[in-house]
């Protein structure tokens, strides 16, 4: 399987500090966390076409304030998730629905919290099921406690009865047996019928069928993974510098992207990197090389590509033109503040294979 790499620049007409995004052809929705606006950009016309102000009541007086997740179903049904609840607004910013889901007690949170922890597990609305899917996690256990990893990772709320129901998907056993440091994020992607889960420390994935409830456990390992994941001693659980070093040294599986245009999946791997090079210089997290593995619809590995170290893997999505991944500018200051740039420069990776519909 071969691939081509090209570039596409998306101009941003206003200073934009985005923390969350969604691609829905041909639009890219960015949540500007500073202004609490949803910026809508037409990626083909290359211009901003709408600017939706999120009602102040949804981000004011919260701790911390702001929208933690959003999902655009259509312009009249924009789902928002803040610290305490779900809301639906329309493109004029009017609130059409609100439901409190995380009600803190006097001095404590409930045992289960529903929120986009880590910012990498956005909510999703399935219109056929009329259910809203969200990350869930322990409100009582710390992330260095085994109990945190025994909680199911996702729940859904049926909008007909507003009851939360957890899904039968758990962290891989290695998280319960070992301490994995900060390599503890769970990612979830949606395809036409399934939720696909990836965990940073494990090559294994979980596939949950939303319509029949079946759960499958598979391995989706990159052939380019250069070493096994090594757990961290629990004695370092308060040592942030050591935890960052641990993230540099170890291979980390990140998000999975479903490409509906080519009926395949991309899995991101940040390969392990030695802290110190032979010439005496040191590596940091940004030096980790990004591997993109392509899997077919049955999660058989088709190919692996090492893209190098100049990508912001989180800002990636599949389009009719190919896989978009935000590129880091060569300018070192821009490297520190790419999210504030006026032009977003994406690499467009196009994999050519027998499965492609191009």
């Amino acid at each position: 399987m071969s691939y081509t790499r090209s570039s596409d620049t998306i101009p941003i007409t206003a200073q934009l500090s985005f923390s969350l995004f969604q691609y829905k052809h041909p639009f890219i929705y960015f949540l500007n966390a500073d202004s609490n606006q949803l910026i809508v950009i037409n990626s083909e016309q290359k211009k901003m076409v709408a600017n939706i102000q999120i009602p102040q009541s949804l981000y004011n007086n919260t701790d911390p304030g702001g929208i933690h997740s959003f999902y655009v179903h259509n312009h009249d049904s924009i789902f928002l998730q803040d610290l305490y609840g779900f809301s639906i607004i329309d493109s004029a910013g009017r609130i059409k629905y609100h439901k409190t889901i995380n009600s803190p007690g006097l001095n404590h949170w409930p045992p289960i919290l529903y929120n986009n922890i880590g910012g990498v597990f956005p909510m999703y609305y399935d219109a056929t099921l009329n259910k809203l899917f969200t990350r869930q996690y322990s409100g009582e256990k710390m992330m260095n406690e085994k109990g945190f990893y025994t909680i199911k990772v996702e729940a859904n709320m049926d909008l007909n009865d507003s009851i939360m129901r957890e899904l039968p998907v758990e962290y891989p056993p290695l998280y319960v047996k070992n301490y994995c440091g900060e390599a503890n994020l769970a990612f979830r992607e949606m395809d036409d019928s399934a939720n696909i889960y990836s965990f940073m420390a494990s090559p294994d994935i979980v596939i949950y069928n939303r319509y029949n409830g079946h759960v499958r456990h598979l391995t989706a390992k990159s052939k380019l993974q250069n070493q096994g994941f090594k757990p961290l001693s629990l004695e370092y659980s308060e040592d942030m510098n050591r935890k960052v070093d641990h993230m540099v040294e170890n291979p980390l599986y990140m998000k999975i992207i479903y490409d509906k245009y080519r009926s395949c999946y991309y899995r991101m791997l940040l390969n392990g990197k030695e802290l110190k090079n032979k010439d005496g210089s040191y590596n940091t997290f940004s030096d980790k090389e990004l591997i993109v593995s392509v899997f077919d619809k049955d999660f058989q590995l088709l190919t692996d590509v090492n893209l190098g170290s100049n990508y912001l893997w989180n800002y990636s999505f599949a389009t009719p033109k190919g896989l978009y991944i935000l590129k880091i500018s060569n300018d070192t200051y821009i490297k520190q503040a790419t999210i504030n740039e006026k032009n977003l420069i994406f690499d467009v990776i196009n994999f050519n294979n027998g499965h492609a519909r191009m």
């Binding site: 409100g139 900060e182 993230m247 210089s281 520190q336």
Partner: protein
């Protein structure tokens, strides 16, 4: 509780946590001497407190942490290295210290010397030798 709720991926947001420095950082911290000499043509001939401030990492250089740093008396001379330009931090330094020198890691070279930490750092150096260090 709050940390469980808001603990986020370090790549996206970097929080501030206290920690006990470990000897494993000694070699890296000592890289300050080489960094200052090679990148800023500055040699430490006497006893100097070098403060590395992570200006571009979220919430590491908040007012509370800067006050903690200022509460510890430095050695005879004080050198600051900012990981990125920051007017408010520079103003704080200039209003709090005298006879200080400020360097800015404009080319983002410090990480290559092993000086990429998630916390602010104070290193006391005498005649080019690291005497002690502390994270804030």
């Amino acid at each position: 509780m709050k940390r469980t709720l808001f603990s986020t991926l370090l790549i996206l947001t970097m929080g501030m946590h206290a920690c006990k420095p470990k000897d494993e950082y000694k070699e890296r911290v000592a890289g300050i001497v080489s960094y200052l000499h090679k990148e800023h043509n500055y040699s430490i001939d006497d006893c100097t407190s070098v403060l590395v401030l992570q200006a571009n990492k979220c919430n590491v250089c908040n007012a509370e942490n800067l006050q903690k740093i200022a509460a510890d008396k430095p050695l005879n001379k004080t050198v600051f290295i900012l990981s990125a330009p920051d007017d408010s931090i520079t103003a704080f330094i200039n209003s709090t210290y005298s006879n200080q020198k400020i360097f800015i890691d404009e080319k983002n070279i410090m990480p290559k010397y092993g000086l990429s930490f998630i916390q602010n750092l104070r290193a006391d150096i005498c005649h080019g030798e690291l005497q002690s260090y502390h994270f804030y």
